[in-house]
């Protein structure tokens, strides 16, 4: 594709500085793409063309005035609709927040906006980020640009699809159990979940506080490092944010993988239920690492089998408390009906405002925190979490990175798993452990399966060591040269 919106952020940044393109041109290119595709993809819940044009014009003024510009200036960005934007409606994909206009910006966006980023819009997602296919959005599903009959993954499906389809050059999503990496895998883009605390959660509408991470969607690894650099760093508004000041994560990423100790999570690759095409693509990528001089051996995470169960106790427990604030009293939806008192108004509002999956998780979480059940469920799950953390610690004594598939399958068909929540939950089986441990992980596209859909390759690193994760991912990306684009984009060119 030759459109501006199909280029990487680093190439666009170069063109802006060389005067080969204006920020306005770049913004229009992305907005045009949204106009061409969004009716079919339903990627955006809200497009913000006026804001985008205003921000682009400011960047052009700054360019005209000369002087240094931040790397993200003038680059079209999409934000998952669980990230608050002052004055721009933010719904978290839920009816209960349909009228909600936040009075403040989330920290990642306030940093990006100050640096001159251009907001294309707010992307569709599973309601309150609960889902793995984007089918739990109260506003209808997103379609995968690789095959419109398949899902883009979730919960950040809109952000992943937008980046894959060129509606935005990059995007932010959130990852509580894989919600950045899994849709990145299914949409053939790069999805990075940094270390817990690396990026402020202030303004991330909480699903499960101890597991929620802000992450990035980009078309290549360099852009992931650049976007992460722009949003990372301590935030006094988030008591769990790391004390580290902002850093440049692109530094040293081209050092290669020679001598790098790589652990292959073999149990996952040989797991029953993994799609053969996925396993094959991942295995051949591992061979490439070996060929590039890395030292590749088998690693084990013995308690990872229990991670999914622990996650589905901890995440709903936290969600049951986090979502209690949506009660119709102060903001968002209020359903009075024939309510005679405030408790009944609360119940009516929540009954009408939340979707089935959200209700299911609130009930699960409420139950697992209840007197008499706490120790057996929530308490036990926290113990398992500690074991998973220790597994990672032990593995990272032997290895610099661990590698595995991101998702057991490529994109599945819409409606295929909606009747079976457990099958849906299994989509995140390889991503959830890194949320429990808070360690950084990235998914990069490593090829296409025989079904013609992209396969994601996951690189996991030590706590705080995004640098090594990015270095390994960058080396593989250079070697693989994955350049396939969603067929939909080809259709646009030949139209």
């Amino acid at each position: 594709m030759s459109e501006l919106c199909d280029l990487g952020a680093h190439e666009l940044a170069r063109r802006l500085r060389q005067g080969e393109a204006s920020a306005a041109d770049v913004a229009e290119s992305a907005l045009r793409r949204v106009g061409e595709l969004d009716e079919r993809l339903h990627t955006f819940l809200r497009v913000t063309p006026d804001l985008a044009r205003l921000e682009a014009a400011r960047v052009d003024e700054r360019l005209a005035a000369g002087g240094e510009l931040p790397a993200v200036a003038g680059i079209p960005l999409a934000l998952k609709d669980v990230l608050t934007t002052k004055g721009v409606r933010t719904t978290a994909g839920s009816k209960i927040l349909e009228p909600y206009v936040p009075p403040y910006d989330c920290t990642p966006w306030s940093r990006l906006e100050a640096a001159g980023a251009v907001l294309v819009g707010k992307t569709n997602c599973d309601e309150f980020a609960m889902g793995s296919s984007n089918e739990n959005s109260a506003y209808g599903p997103v379609r995968n640009p690789w095959n419109l009959d398949t899902v883009p993954g979730g919960s950040s499906g809109g952000s992943a699809a937008a980046v894959a389809a060129g509606e935005a050059v990059w995007a932010l999503g959130t990852d509580t159990g894989g919600s950045v990496r899994q849709p990145a895998s299914l949409c053939g883009v790069v999805g990075l979940k940094p270390t817990y605390g690396r990026v402020s959660r202030y303004g991330l509408i909480a699903f499960a506080s101890s597991l929620d991470h802000v992450g990035t969607f980009t078309r290549d690894v360099r852009d992931a490092a650049t976007l992460l650099s722009a949003i990372a760093g301590h935030d006094p508004m988030d008591a769990t944010s790391l004390p580290d000041p902002p850093a440049d994560f692109t530094e040293g990423m081209d050092a290669g993988v020679r001598g790098l100790r790589v652990g292959v999570v073999e149990d996952w690759l040989s797991m029953e239920g993994i799609q053969p095409g996925v396993a094959a693509a991942v295995r051949s990528t591992i061979d490439r690492m070996d060929a590039l001089g890395a030292s590749v051996e088998t690693a084990s995470l013995p308690h990872a089998d229990y991670a999914l169960s622990a996650y589905y106790l901890i995440a709903p427990a936290e969600c049951s408390s986090n979502l209690a604030r949506f009660d119709g009293v102060r903001y968002g939806l209020r359903v009075d009906g024939e309510a005679v008192d405030v408790a009944e108004m609360n119940a009516r509002t929540r009954g009408a405002g939340f979707g089935d999956e959200v209700k299911r998780r609130i009930m699960l979480g409420t139950y697992s925190l209840s007197a008499g059940y706490y120790d057996a469920y929530y308490g036990q799950a926290q113990k398992v979490r500690t074991l998973v953390i220790r597994d990672y610690q032990a593995a990272f004594e032997r290895f610099d990175v661990l590698v595995a598939p991101t998702s057991p399958t490529t994109a599945f068909r819409l409606g295929e798993r909606t009747e079976d929540p457990l099958a849906m939950y299994l989509s995140d089986i390889f991503t959830i452990p890194s949320n429990l441990s808070g360690t950084p992980a990235i998914s990069i596209p490593c090829g296409l399966a025989p079904d013609g859909l992209p396969v994601g390759f996951q690189v996991m690193g030590r706590l705080g060591d995004e640098a090594t994760v990015l270095r390994a991912a960058y080396a593989l990306e250079q070697d693989l040269g994955f350049a396939a684009q969603p067929p939909l984009l080809g259709d646009l060119v030949h139209r």
Partner: protein, 487 residues
């Protein structure tokens, strides 16, 4: 079997203390009482989606100071928990509080009751956030029958400390003494306004009654809405009697929450504790554990001011003429005690200073509804009054008038006495004409005195005082009257 059964009351108190920090517990909003509704609010304390709590270090410091003052152990590892329940005055529908790992545990407070010291155990001192305030509006102004409710979130997120005592008190008097001592301790620490009428100090009482000698506690009732020390005392006396009467009549008491009605002087049924709330406590994932290091705690310990018990001991040891009661009354207020010591340092007699402060000044403050430090009275005033009274230049009535004037205006005693003509007339020459007039105008009392009724002299002295508008020295006037009538 019949016989008189003696009963014993068992009381434990749970006190909530709003900390006087500049800002709220988890956000930067101002912490102040009495601002217009919903003006000290922000996305964080309104519980907007995506917001996060950031703990106020000063509040943690104040809590540790309270713990140290109550001889608690400061936990090296303490956690915030979420207490989950729905109520519209709580923006997140959970309260950030502490549960099984509070900041301070196992302390005690020694209180004075009838000249004896009683040690009350402190179970725990923990830190949490306050809720907003609901006003039920419409028809009756009560919850039942209200048309709608209004929420003011200014108070939502204000740092709140809960001090829980052991059930160590055995009478309403002891509970009252505990509350007064706790309030004095908090005031000395400077961590709270401790104004019960404004809700910055709130108290709930757990009370039960059992026959003396029984090891098991009787049925426990929690009494709420105790907005003053007097309410606490009255409510406990009421409950004590209610329980005793029920036990004697063989009636069964129920475990419940009762509401004190100050106007009617009774408690009424609030809610039964039969169905216990399940608050689904779990560790607050948005906050890290509190792990105060030893050095910080030592520093805070070193910063502790003189506490009421120590002050009481020191005042009565240093100023031997003071009664224990006087020393106690001064020691409960750092402002009062400071004023006293300054006045004495200036040369005021300790006894005089203590009496005037604990009686006349206390009455004045009460009458004006103000505080000592809001008035204009200075220790120098006390010294000057003491001097004039002991010289006989000022009657005690005139001294009270001068005190009130000094409290209101701050003018010097000398100026006040001159301006108001308060100086006492002891000059017999000047009084003799008045004495003659009074005897002539009051033949009745004069006659009674002459016929041996010594008491009749008081009526005549009163008339002299009236005629001189209080400026006569009453004992000089009495002497003159006696002399004239016996002549």
């Amino acid at each position: 079997m019949t016989g008189i059964v003696a009963y014993e009351t068992v009381i434990g108190l749970e006190c909530h203390v709003e900390l006087a920090t500049q800002t709220k517990m988890f956000c930067g909003c101002r912490n102040e009482f009495g601002a217009p509704a919903n003006t000290n609010v922000c996305p964080v304390c309104l519980g907007h989606p995506g917001t996060l709590p950031v703990p106020n270090e000063k509040a943690i410091e104040y809590t540790i100071k309270i713990g140290l003052a109550l001889d608690c152990r400061i936990a090296p590892h303490s956690l915030f928990h979420r207490k989950n329940y729905f109520y519209p005055d709580m923006p997140k529908n959970f309260q950030i509080s502490q549960y099984d790992l509070p900041l301070c545990v196992d302390g005690h407070l020694d209180v004075q009751v009838d000249g004896r010291t009683r040690r009350v155990g402190i179970t725990r001192v923990h830190l949490e956030e306050d809720t907003g305030k609901t006003t039920h509006a419409g028809a009756t102004g009560r919850i039942a029958g209200a048309d709608y409710a209004l929420e003011d979130y200014n108070r939502a997120g204000v740092p709140l400390v809960e001090v829980v005592s052991e059930p160590d008190m055995r009478s309403a008097e002891e509970a009252r003494a505990y509350l007064i001592e706790l309030r004095a301790t908090l005031e000395a620490l400077g961590v709270s306004d401790v104004r019960m009428e404004e809700g910055s100090l709130r108290c709930d009482a757990n009370v039960s009654v059992r026959p003396v000698g029984h090891a098991d506690l009787g049925t426990k009732v929690e009494v709420k809405n105790l907005n003053s020390v007097r309410s606490l005392y009255r409510a406990l006396r009421y409950e004590e009697e209610r329980h005793r009467a029920a036990l004697e009549a063989g009636e069964k008491l129920i475990q419940e929450t009762r509401h004190w009605d100050e106007n009617r002087g009774v408690t009424t049924h609030g809610r039964s504790k039969e169905y216990a709330f399940d608050y689904r406590y779990f560790p607050e994932p948005d906050l890290s554990p509190i792990e105060p290091d030893g050095e910080w705690i030592d520093q805070l310990r070193a910063e502790l001011p003189e506490l009421p018990a120590a002050k009481r001991g020191r005042l009565s040891a240093r100023y031997g003429t003071l009664t224990i009661d006087q020393a106690g009354r001064l020691a409960v207020s750092p402002v009062l005690a400071g004023f006293f010591e300054e006045a004495v340092a200036l040369g005021t007699t300790p006894m005089y200073a203590a009496n005037v402060l604990t009686q006349d000044v206390a009455a004045l403050i009460n009458e004006l509804g103000t505080t000592l430090d809001e008035g204009e009275l200075r220790p120098q005033h006390q010294r000057d009054l003491d001097r004039l009274v002991s010289e006989g230049s000022l009657s005690s009535t005139a001294a009270k008038a001068a005190l009130a004037e000094a409290f209101a205006t701050g003018a010097s005693i000398e100026e006040i006495v001159e301006a108001k003509g308060l100086r006492q007339v002891s000059d017999t020459g000047a009084l003799e004409a008045v004495i003659d007039e009074v005897i002539a105008e009051n033949p009745g009392p004069a006659g009674q005195f002459r016929s041996g009724k010594e008491g009749a002299i008081n009526a005549l002295v009163g008339q002299v005082m009236k005629k001189t508008r209080g400026s006569a020295n009453p004992s000089v006037a009495a002497d003159l009257l006696r002399r004239r009538l016996s002549a």
